[in-house]
């Protein structure tokens, strides 16, 4: 299981030259559709995506399978920590209120200018001033989207985090919006932010101004009040902003009124909500006819259909009862039968990494000292058979990851040393590393430190003679993939004399009890843990996750070189600073990185659209405004 995408990290500003999702407007003609060109196959992907069909484009209702437990339950775009998930944001909310900058182009995490309601931001004053110009978009009530609407969102966020830091999932004290000294709107379409200190432009846009927040315009003309029938208030007054925030938050907690509350009918995105079932989480989105962004010539209704289990959803695919559905990696062998029913199938890992975390504070058996030794972490990486995991446990539908930026989907920030495995699977290499650093290796038994000390060829600081290389690894039992991988890891490790005691647990218990910052009392109870992984932001800095004292630290990794590189990622003027950070972290192995299964989707062959609009399903984004029926 992965965390939602709520991870504070850098945002990067537009990467130019992307092949953006453009407005689909093929010339209409009678008759059925036909593909125009061959299907698109992407590196690291599973299956392919057909080119957009030419010919007639018809509207209808597209049904979309919701995974168990992922039905949206939060609608207000300022999402609190408790409700932060990709299923509330990218797959639901963003269809109605578009983030300031859209940063997903198919499987590639890069900006799509045409889908963004603002022009590329301009940085000046040594990257301490950001000027954002809004495009001439409209709200569904006909009023223009202005810079004031963006200011409204930021003021609401400020009011929310002042009450409680958890009121905005992306908030980290000292950073946005704390680092905004002032805002001004010199004209109706321009918002100027003056920041306390220089920021990395690439980081600030992709993580702060769009993706991670998200930050985006909200309808001040309709929402800036503290009661349903109250007057419009001046939101720039902090006291008013607090009242407005509390009013909107209370409305968002009333899940049964999502489709009927007039607040939520004022949107700037491609859809508005017409039905919502509080019991099941099923919803229906209908096209917003005032939407100013790109979309297909005709837009269809979009229905989220919840499922109680992957088995029930698979049965729906087998009977052709749902138009767009996911295929769990365990069901990969059944893909041929799904295709026979009439589906296209494509998969790609989510942009992020799965990993096993080290606890650099666990003093049990001197593990803290052991984990701090690079050679040990390198040896552990050598014990991991990533390709074996992909073949055996993922049925071949997965891709490796060697560092915090995965090899696939391809990112413009992937460093060269993360494109191939710097520590390929080799038990003998792991043994050699341990022997070369003062351990007596006992294959099948337990290694012992026989050369203590800090010199070359010695075990390292804090590891006394006789220390056993034995520790526990706690893993979540869901999904079963995690248990399969760590079981194999423990087996391979045993051949190198590394004794790993596996303990099963569950995700919620682990993140409550086995995170050093959150549960320091349990620091000595876990050496390594595996609960899945995390999704990267488009500018994939690990700042706030792996820097010393980071707000989302797990095992207290601390490295001064890494700290400097991560700080540069968010504050230097180099738009590609994160590449240096990722290169270092890939070699330094703060985590034991694991392969990621493909997130596979199936959609009916009579549904077509821009290929990237299907590709981005694999990244949890739903952009049905580009889809149309061909029959």
């Amino acid at each position: 299981m992965k965390f939602g995408k709520a991870r504070f990290g850098g945002m990067i500003l537009a990467v130019a030259g992307v092949t953006a999702l453009a407005a689909c407007s093929s010339s209409g003609s009678s008759g059925g559709g036909s593909t125009n060109g061959s299907a698109i196959t992407l590196p690291g992907g599973y299956g392919s995506v057909p080119a957009a069909a030419t010919g007639a484009e018809k509207a209808g209702t597209i049904t979309w399978a919701l995974q168990p437990g992922t039905s949206p339950n939060w609608i207000f775009p300022v999402i609190p920590s408790a409700d932060n998930s990709v299923f509330n944001a990218e797959s639901f909310g963003w269809d109605m209120w578009v983030p300031l900058y859209w940063t997903q182009n198919g499987v590639t995490p890069e900006m799509v200018p045409s889908m963004s309601p603002a022009d590329t931001p301009v940085y000046s004053n040594g990257d301490k001033t950001v000027s954002i110009t809004m495009k001439s978009w409209k709200w569904s009530d006909g009023t223009p989207v202005t810079a004031k609407d963006l200011e409204f969102d930021i003021d609401l966020i400020k009011a929310g985090v002042k009450e409680s830091p958890s009121n905005w999932a992306s908030y980290t004290p000292g950073y946005f919006p704390d680092n905004v000294v002032s805002m001004s709107t010199p004209d109706a379409s321009t918002l100027v932010l003056n920041l306390k200190s220089a920021v990395n432009p690439s980081w600030f846009t992709e993580d702060i101004l769009s993706y991670a927040g998200p930050v985006g315009p909200l309808p001040a003309q309709a929402w800036s009040k503290d009661s349903a029938n109250g007057p419009i208030l001046d939101f720039t007054n902090p006291a008013n902003a607090t009242k407005i925030f509390n009013f909107l938050t209370a409305a968002s907690k009333s899940v049964s009124t999502y489709a009927t509350n007039p607040l939520w009918q004022v949107v700037d995105g491609p859809y508005k909500l017409s039905a919502y079932n509080a019991t099941t989480g099923a919803f229906t989105l209908v096209p917003n006819t005032s939407y100013s962004g790109p979309h297909a010539k005709v837009e269809s209704n979009f229905q989220g259909v919840p499922f109680t289990s992957n088995t029930a959803e698979l049965n729906a695919l087998k009977t052709g009862s749902v138009d767009v559905g996911y295929v769990d990696y365990t069901a990969v062998p059944q893909i041929p039968s799904i295709k026979r029913v009439g589906y296209n199938v494509f998969g790609m890992p989510d942009y992020g990494s799965n990993f096993v975390a080290y606890n650099f504070k666990d003093a049990t058996g001197h593990f803290d000292a052991i984990a701090n030794q690079l050679y040990f972490r390198q040896a552990m990486a050598h014990l991991e058979d990533e390709q074996g995991y992909i073949n055996a446990f993922m049925h071949g539908a997965g891709d490796p990851a060697y560092g915090p930026i995965p090899a696939y989907p391809q990112s413009p920030y992937l460093p060269a040393d993360a494109a191939t495995n710097p520590y390929p699977f080799s038990v003998s290499d792991a043994v050699s590393l341990l022997k070369a650093n003062g351990w007596t290796v006992t294959p099948g038994g337990t290694d012992t430190c026989t050369k203590p000390g800090t010199g070359a060829g010695e075990c390292g600081a804090g590891i006394p003679a006789g220390t056993k290389l034995a520790f526990n690894l706690i893993y979540s039992t869901s999904p079963s993939l995690l248990g399969q991988q760590v079981t194999d890891l423990a087996s391979e490790a045993k051949q190198a004399g590394v004794e790993i005691t596996l303990q099963s647990s569950n995700f919620n218990y682990m993140i409550t009890n086995y995170l050093d910052p959150a549960a320091p009392a349990n620091e000595n109870k876990w050496a390594m843990e595996d609960f899945g992984g995390e999704t990267d932001n488009p500018y994939p800095t690990q700042f706030n996750f792996l820097n010393t004292g980071g707000a989302t630290q797990i095992g207290d990794y601390s490295n001064s070189t890494a700290n400097g590189l991560m700080t540069a990622s968010i504050s230097s003027g180099n738009p590609s600073a994160v590449k240096n950070e990722a290169a270092f972290l890939t070699m330094n192995q703060p985590l034991l990185f694991q392969p990621t299964p493909d997130y596979i989707w199936a959609w009916k062959t009579d549904i077509s659209g821009e290929p990237s609009s299907f590709e981005n399903l694999t990244q949890y984004y739903a952009t049905p405004e580009f889809w149309y029926f061909t029959k």
Binding site: S81, A82, P165, T279, A316, S321, N506, L515, T552
Partner: protein, 315 residues
């Protein structure tokens, strides 16, 4: 009888109170407060403590328990932070659906199992008896999800005469009318129950058939049909009455796997989702209501037994 009922109600209340204390204390040990769920992982310990203080979670366990009981008595089952709804609303949305699925499957099982058990007892060791016994053993030993998958594959996928998923309507009246989609999930649960009920019925009927009053009735020339209906049925049903009473808690939560398999949003699935999300307010309410149902089920079974068999006197 009245005295018995009063005593029984009294002991039932004590049992429910005892269960509530045990469950509350145990859950409190595992999950002292929902602060981390509300505030998120980035919250500091100081923030967690402040939230706990503001929301009463820093009070002693006994104080929290008494406060919880006070809310319960006003119909407030608590708030689910995971679902952003009150626990009462979550239950209300699902209880009728779960009760219908469980109730219909139980009713169907009774309608099939009783005559089947009697037939097997009367025609014991015949071909029919042996076939029914074999089928009962096979079905009883089969996991419910496996039986469900087989039924879906045969009747919904390979030969699509029935729906592959249960009715998706949130109106229980619509669900009740949707036999096309509800037959498979009901059948899945019912067949497993038939397997066990029919065995009990067969065994009980065989015991009754050996009784003297049955021989006397036959000797007097009473038609066999009346022997079975008037003398056998009522006496042989006593174990089934007990089983039915013990099945009442299943109306609440016995259908988790079936609901998962047939995409049916019911209480069983709510329980499972609450477990995986660590939604302890929902789990606590669920367990307490389950305890109440067990107590009621046992009580109803005892009363029904007494009504069915005058030899049983409740004192």
């Amino acid at each position: 009888m009245i005295a018995y009922i009063i005593r029984r109600i009294g002991t039932s209340v004590i049992v429910v109170i005892g269960v509530s204390i045990v469950i509350f204390v145990l859950l409190h040990e595992i999950y002292p407060s929902p602060a981390r769920d509300v505030l998120g992982l980035k919250a500091t310990l100081a923030q967690v403590n402040a939230w706990n203080k503001a929301n009463g979670y820093d009070a002693p366990v006994i104080v929290q328990y008494l406060r919880y009981v006070g809310h319960l008595l006003q119909g407030n089952l608590g708030y689910s932070y995971a679902e952003n709804q009150s626990v009462a609303a979550l239950f209300q949305e699902r209880v009728a659906r779960s009760a219908y699925l469980s109730g219909m499957s139980l009713l169907l099982a009774i309608v099939i199992a009783i005559p089947l058990g009697i037939y097997q007892a009367v025609r014991r060791n015949s071909v029919g008896d042996n076939v029914a016994t074999s089928l009962a053993f096979v079905t009883y030993s089969m996991p419910v999800f496996f039986l469900g998958l087989i039924l879906i594959q045969v009747f919904a996928l390979s030969w699509p005469v029935l729906g592959f998923e249960a009715s998706q309507s949130t109106s229980v009246l619509t669900v009740m009318g949707d036999w096309h989609d509800m037959l498979l999930p009901i059948l899945t649960l019912a067949l497993i129950t038939v397997a066990s009920f029919s065995r009990y019925m067969r065994s009980s009927a065989m015991d009754v058939l050996a009784q003297d009053y049955i021989k006397v009735a036959r000797a007097k020339g009473l038609p066999e049909r009346l022997v079975l209906l008037r003398h056998l049925l009522r006496n042989a049903c006593l174990p089934i009455i007990t089983l039915i009473g013990l099945s009442i808690p299943n109306l609440l939560a016995g259908n988790l796997i079936t609901e998962s398999l047939f995409n049916y949003q019911g209480l069983g699935l709510l329980f499972f989702n609450s477990l995986s999300k660590a939604d302890y307010p929902t789990l606590l309410a669920y367990t307490l209501i389950g305890a109440v149902f067990v107590v009621i089920g046992n009580f109803v079974a005892d009363l029904a037994l007494s009504a069915a068999d005058p030899r049983i006197r409740l004192v």
